[in-house]
């Protein structure tokens, strides 16, 4: 997908004006955190599990080449073909070449953020191969021509009636009068339509939640079981994954799975968890004849050596989105690319280049909720601050308002001058605000007074009143100072 992260402000404004979106977000950002909390309350060792997850990932990142080579050797031994790709373009070409050699016309897909990252659907379509999303949410947004608004729940911005409408438009072969007002009916219809696609597909394409170095397996989790059909029905399977998805052992994979489902959807474990190792072996009842893994860098090794290395621990659980009050206001599309919310605000500038997404790290209050819930303890606010520091030097939204900030700092670094200037300023403001105790409008402060009144200062600074008190003057700090 083409990134619109650079239009973040406009995107956000549009989203804020969308009443239906507001409703969807309000209910979703309430229920997901509640579910997560409930399931974590049942697991006293959750925090210890987080520490373990963090150390697994840190260990892998420190020894990435070792584990990738081991993974490749094990996977190859199981008959898997590994394709190393430097970037999205190489990965797309590789996947297309596999499709072509299989003579594929239809590719079934299960939800994959890497697939979105490399915009594989558009590319395949442009080259005569028809990709069909099989995750319900992905399927819905695919037929609507939209992009996911959440890394886990791609159609979270839609409500039942939106989806029913889309299905009526798209599935014209079905009776027009059918009822689609219940979620079950929508699900049934999607299942009916997709059943044929599963069987017709020549290639199945999935992502991978993890790559297990010990066994050469990929791990794929879903709640719909669609990935299993994608992996087992077509004769060729392709999994695409970025480098940092590798973990050393099955045990490590289990640890991360325990964190993932709880953080993501508040489940103890996802409904389907599949470990797949290589193509069909002699005697296997099913499975693909060919098994390919496209291992893509696309900016990861560059992050490995720098300030954003911790971000590579991310397991795409979405907890930081579900708990982010900014995301709750504007939804995922406003962020303009595949990754949204706090993790997107760090990943998008890292992967696309800071100049393509420079509002994202600024559009945070640093409330710290994301870091609090992140199972991988990723210091998201600190990384957004790093990005702001870079912008402050190189230009970008963080450098805007630089003049005012510099003036403030200039004064604040000269306490005596500061005290005089501030005493004068607040005295003046208090006189202006006298009577009402607040301002509805104030020149130069419209960004504040647009949404809210500005409470008026009391009239004297604490410092000047304290100095008087120290000099033994009767404390003249009554509230009416500077007021009539």
């Amino acid at each position: 997908m083409d990134a619109t992260s650079q239009r973040f402000r406009d995107n956000a404004r549009g989203a804020l004006a969308d009443g239906r979106l507001k409703e969807s977000l309000a209910s979703f950002t309430k229920t997901f955190p509640e579910k997560r909390q409930k399931v974590i309350d049942r697991l006293p060792e959750f925090d210890a599990l987080r520490d373990e997850g963090v150390s697994i990932k840190n260990h892998v990142l420190a020894n990435l080449d070792f584990y990738l080579e081991r993974f490749e050797a094990k996977a190859a031994a199981a008959g898997t073909k590994i394709h190393w790709c430097r970037d999205a373009a190489e990965a797309r070409e590789t996947i297309l070449a596999i499709c072509r050699s299989a003579g594929a016309r239809t590719v079934t897909k299960s939800k994959s953020m890497i697939g979105e990252e490399i915009a594989i659907n558009e590319f395949l379509e442009a080259n005569g191969v028809r990709p069909v999303e099989t995750d319900l949410g992905e399927y819905i947004i695919q037929v609507r021509g939209e992009s996911p608004s959440h890394i886990l729940v791609p159609a979270i911005h839609l409500k039942g009636p939106d989806i029913a409408e889309t299905f009526r438009e798209k599935h014209t072969a079905l009776p027009a009068g059918r009822a689609l007002d219940q979620p079950e009916a929508i699900l049934r219809e999607a299942r009916t339509v997709l059943r044929g696609e599963f069987l017709a597909a020549d290639v199945g394409l999935t992502g991978a939640n993890m790559l297990v170095a010990e066994t050469g397996s990929i791990v794929v989790v879903t709640n719909e079981g669609n990935a299993d059909l994608v992996m087992s029905l077509p004769k060729v399977h392709v999994a695409v994954a970025s480098l940092e998805k590798v973990v050393p052992t099955l045990e490590d994979a289990a640890t991360i799975l325990r964190l993932l489902a709880r953080s993501a959807t508040g489940q103890d474990i996802t409904a389907y968890t599949t470990f797949a190792t290589g193509p069909k072996r002699p005697g296997d009842p099913d499975g693909p004849d060919e098994f390919h893994i496209v291992l893509m860098d696309n900016g990861r090794t560059a992050m490995l050596g720098g300030e954003f290395r911790d971000m590579l621990r991310c397991i795409r659980c979405g907890a930081c989105l579900n708990h982010c009050p900014v995301y709750a206001g504007i939804g995922g599309h406003a962020y303009g690319w595949v990754y949204s919310g706090p993790m997107g605000s760090v990943l998008t500038p890292s992967l696309l280049g800071a100049h393509k997404a420079d509002d994202l790290p600024n559009a945070s209050t640093f409330c710290g909720k994301c870091e609090q819930v992140c199972p991988m303890r990723i210091p998201l606010p600190a990384m957004m601050r790093h990005l702001r520091e870079r912008q402050f030097v190189s230009g970008g939204p963080a450098a805007k308002g630089r003049g005012a900030l510099k003036l403030w700092a200039f004064l604040a670094r000269r306490p005596a001058l500061y005290r005089r200037a501030m005493a004068l300023g607040v005295g003046l403001l208090a006189i202006l605000g006298r009577g009402r105790g607040r301002f509805r409008r104030l020149p130069l402060a419209s960004a504040w007074t647009g949404p809210r009144d500005l409470p008026a200062p009391e009239g004297r600074t604490f410092q000047s009143l304290w100095a008087e008190r120290r000099r033994g003057k009767p404390a003249s700090r009554s509230r009416t100072e500077g007021r009539p």
């Binding site: 409330c367 504040w448 009144d453």
Partner: protein
């Protein structure tokens, strides 16, 4: 006052200094009532957080050095703000990591710096306050205090000692109000949605008053409540705990003389 009384350097915070000195005096009263000798170094201005969070590291460092120098030598440093106390406690040591001359000084200051209610409860073990207020209040947990310093139970424990007071919790007490320092003016539309959600949540409690430990959030919340025409008042928790309710609530007009 006994000479063993702890010497507390009071960090006023720029917002309290400029906007609402009565919060500062209420805090000083609470500290003095608890047996502290309170001093207010004149060389203090701002902790540097606005610069730090805007990516202006150079000014953040300069201001941090100024604060460190001004507050060295006190037994404790106390601020009526979780955000400024969090800046000093959590971020100063990081700002000077690897700086041989300043890292140790930053760390020593950090270790002695507290948010007001946390200091009263965790360090001084204050149980009661001599305040009275017949009202129902709700408490907003400001983000930095809550998540950087773990301030949650302390203000509630002190409020429980206020005669006549009922605390009614809101569903989203821990959700950010959308102030975020310069965020609220850099992204006013997003901030508006956040503070509106906050105001609705507070109003749903039916409380007469919202309290918090950070003036930044309070100015934002009070401003939105007033814009919505709500009668709910907003005050810093120190004002209620100290029984200093002479000043009109935040954003309310003064009484005519």
């Amino acid at each position: 006052m006994p000479s063993t009384a702890p010497r507390v350097g009071f960090f006023v915070t720029c917002l309290v200094d400029l906007m609402r000195p009565s919060v500062g005096f209420a805090a000083v009263k609470l500290l003095e009532d608890a047996g502290c000798r309170v001093e207010v170094p004149a060389e203090q201005t701002c902790c540097g957080q606005p610069a730090y969070n805007s990516g202006d590291r150079a000014d953040a460092i300069a201001l941090a050095k100024q604060v460190i120098a001004a507050f060295e030598g006190f037994d404790y440093v106390v601020a009526p703000s979780g955000s400024c106390a969090g800046m000093i406690r959590e971020h100063y040591p990081r700002l000077f990591a690897g700086d041989a001359a300043w890292e140790g000084r930053a760390r020593r200051l950090a270790e002695r710096t507290y948010e007001l209610t946390a200091f009263l409860v965790d360090v001084l073990d204050v149980e009661g306050v001599a305040a009275r207020l017949a009202a129902t209040v709700t408490y907003h947990d400001a983000c930095s205090g809550l998540r950087e310093l773990g301030v949650k139970a302390q203000p509630r424990r002190l409020l429980a000692a206020v005669d006549g007071l009922t605390v009614k919790e809101s569903a989203m007490a821990e959700t950010c109000c959308g102030f975020g320092g310069t965020f609220c003016v850099k992204y006013p539309e997003i901030s508006e949605r956040m503070v509106d959600t906050k105001a609705e949540d507070l109003m749903a409690t039916g409380a007469d008053m919202v309290l918090a430990g950070d003036l930044g959030c309070l100015l934002n919340i009070a401003g939105r409540l007033k814009r919505k025409g709500s009668a709910m008042q907003a005050r810093h928790v120190a004002e209620v705990l100290a029984g200093s309710l002479d000043a009109p609530a935040i954003g309310e007009p003064g009484r005519k003389p």
